[in-house]
């Protein structure tokens, strides 16, 4: 893997620190007028999501991390692992619960997800921004109330719970924004 000089640091660059892959969030050049220059860098651990601060002497180098984002199709969950497939090569990859994290509740068969790979192994999973899901359970609510105000919880087929307007009923299909977990609209068959 390539090494990067502090002169090449910029946000988004993936580097290795203490054996973990990190993404640079912010890079600041700090230099006293007559002394040693430093790069003060905010980095996000791509395994844990935690952001920390690190300092480098300007001109020093860091090893690049072999981290890439790929689009994979979700296949199924066997109870322990989530299985994905590369739609081009048909190569299959598995990810554990820690890797899938919160994305699990948005994963439905055949969804195309963005999977971050580190040395070819899944590091994190980002679900599609919008998913279409069937409501399996919600209180009947008030017929005729179409104001959309208030809302009520609804359980979706994957177990995810979202707030929906009162007029939306069990068995209906809805569109949800996975970035916020917000209801977007009803989907007519």
């Amino acid at each position: 893997m390539a090494t990067y000089s502090t002169n090449e640091f910029k946000s988004g660059l993936k580097i290795m620190l203490d054996g973990d892959p990190y993404a640079i969030v912010e890079n600041e050049f700090v230099k006293p007028g007559k002394g040693q220059a430093f790069n003060r860098v905010k980095v996000r651990n791509l395994k844990t999501g935690r952001t920390i601060e690190r300092t480098f002497k300007s001109g020093d180098t860091a090893e690049g991390a072999d981290v890439v984002d790929v689009e994979l199709q979700y296949l199924y969950n066997d109870g322990e692992y989530w299985h994905f497939m590369d739609p081009q090569s048909y190569e299959q990859l598995t990810a554990d619960a820690a890797t899938v994290g919160d994305a699990a509740k948005w994963l439905k068969d055949e969804a195309i997800c963005q999977v971050t790979l580190w040395n070819g192994v899944p590091l994190s999973v980002t679900p599609p921004i919008f998913v279409i899901m069937t409501i399996v359970e919600t209180d009947p609510g008030l017929r005729g109330d179409t104001s959309g105000g208030g809302g009520k919880p609804a359980t979706l087929e994957t177990g995810a719970v979202v707030r929906v307007p009162l007029f939306v009923q069990s068995g209906e299909v809805i569109k949800v924004d996975t970035r916020t977990g917000d209801y977007v609209s009803r989907v007519k068959d």
Partner: protein, 329 residues
């Protein structure tokens, strides 16, 4: 880059403020009988300080300098001292200067320095004048308390309970760890200065110049640069820096006038360059010849004009004060 990259980065109010501050600086020095001068930006000699990197270019002739490598100055200090040795009296210059490898929110590879020299002043008297100028330029835009003066040692004692003139690398390492400072890989085991720089930039500078001008003065002898040393135990360099809002604004010296001492510092810096694999720089023999004849007792200071504009305008990045920042040049 956006479609409008040809447009100025700074807003018109800031560009008008730049012009206004330049006007007031010139009026300030005119009223005090300090002469404005201009000296070459391109020079056959260059600064030897291993922390500064000069842009180099080659002159293609005609004339005796045909084929010679010339360097863009990092400050107008050397030729201004030649003027002083030749009897100019007090002088100032507003100059574009160039430093390779320096870019960031508060750094630009090309920037404007206001540099001035006062004959008969020591560094304390010059600090008085720097405070007067900065106050005159900022008073109508910023509410500032009375300026504060802190020795380098006092600053370390106040913020880190440590004597910077006596601390060892081991003690500085323990201090950095206790302070939760991220220690860069490859810090030297035998040289205290990078450790002092690390602690200063990470844990002291943010406290300096809060609501007032703060002067830091009397630096470790190893960081004296072009300042004269005062024989104390341990000796200190008669150097100062000015801070406002945690931002370093100016660096000044009670100027070293000893040609022999100056040559040995240049040579030591070039030796450090060689050891670090950096190019060795040609010494400014004109400066050394001028010092040998005699530099009048004087103090000098260089003030980062763009940073001053930034703080006066309430901006946080140099790019917001420049018509066309480096990336758009």
């Amino acid at each position: 880059m956006e479609a409008a990259a040809w447009r100025p980065a700074a807003d018109w109010a800031t560009l008008r403020l730049r012009a206004e501050l330049l006007r007031r600086i010139r009026a300030f020095f005119a009223a005090r009988g300090v002469l404005e001068v201009e000296t070459p930006l391109l020079s056959a000699a260059a600064i030897t300080d291993s922390h500064l990197s000069s842009f180099a270019t080659v002159y293609s002739g005609p004339g005796p300098r045909h084929g010679q490598t010339l360097y863009l100055h990092t400050s107008p200090e050397f030729p201004m001292k030649r003027l002083l040795a030749a009897g100019s009296g007090c002088i100032y210059q507003i100059a574009r200067v160039f430093r390779d490898g320096e870019a960031g929110r508060r750094h630009s590879p090309e920037f404007t320095l206001l540099e001035w020299y006062r004959v008969g002043f020591d560094h304390h008297r010059l600090m008085d004048e720097v405070a007067e100028l900065a106050t005159a330029l900022l008073a109508d835009r910023r509410l500032l308390a009375k300026p504060e003066r802190l020795s380098y040692r006092q600053a370390f004692q106040r913020h880190l309970s440590l004597d910077p003139h006596r601390a060892t690398v081991a003690e500085l390492t323990v201090c950095a760890e206790r302070q939760g400072v991220s220690i860069p890989p490859g810090m030297p085991a035998e040289d205290v200065d990078p450790w002092l720089d690390l602690l200063l930039t990470q844990r002291i500078e943010p406290h300096l110049g809060q609501g007032r001008l703060t002067f830091l003065y009397d630096y470790p002898a190893s960081q004296a640069a072009l300042a004269r040393l005062r024989r104390e135990d341990p000796p200190v360099g008669e150097r100062f820096e000015l801070y406002l809002d945690g931002v370093e604004l100016a660096n000044g010296f009670h100027e070293l006038g000893d040609a022999v001492e100056q040559r040995s510092r240049f040579e030591a810096e070039n030796a450090a360059r060689r050891a670090q694999g950096l190019p060795v720089m040609p010494l400014d023999e004109h400066l050394l010849a001028a010092l040998a004849v005699g530099l009048p007792d004087c103090a000098g200071v260089a003030l980062g004009f763009d940073r001053l504009v930034m703080l006066a305008a309430g901006k946080t990045a140099l790019a917001e004060t420049l018509a066309f920042p480096f990336e758009q040049a």
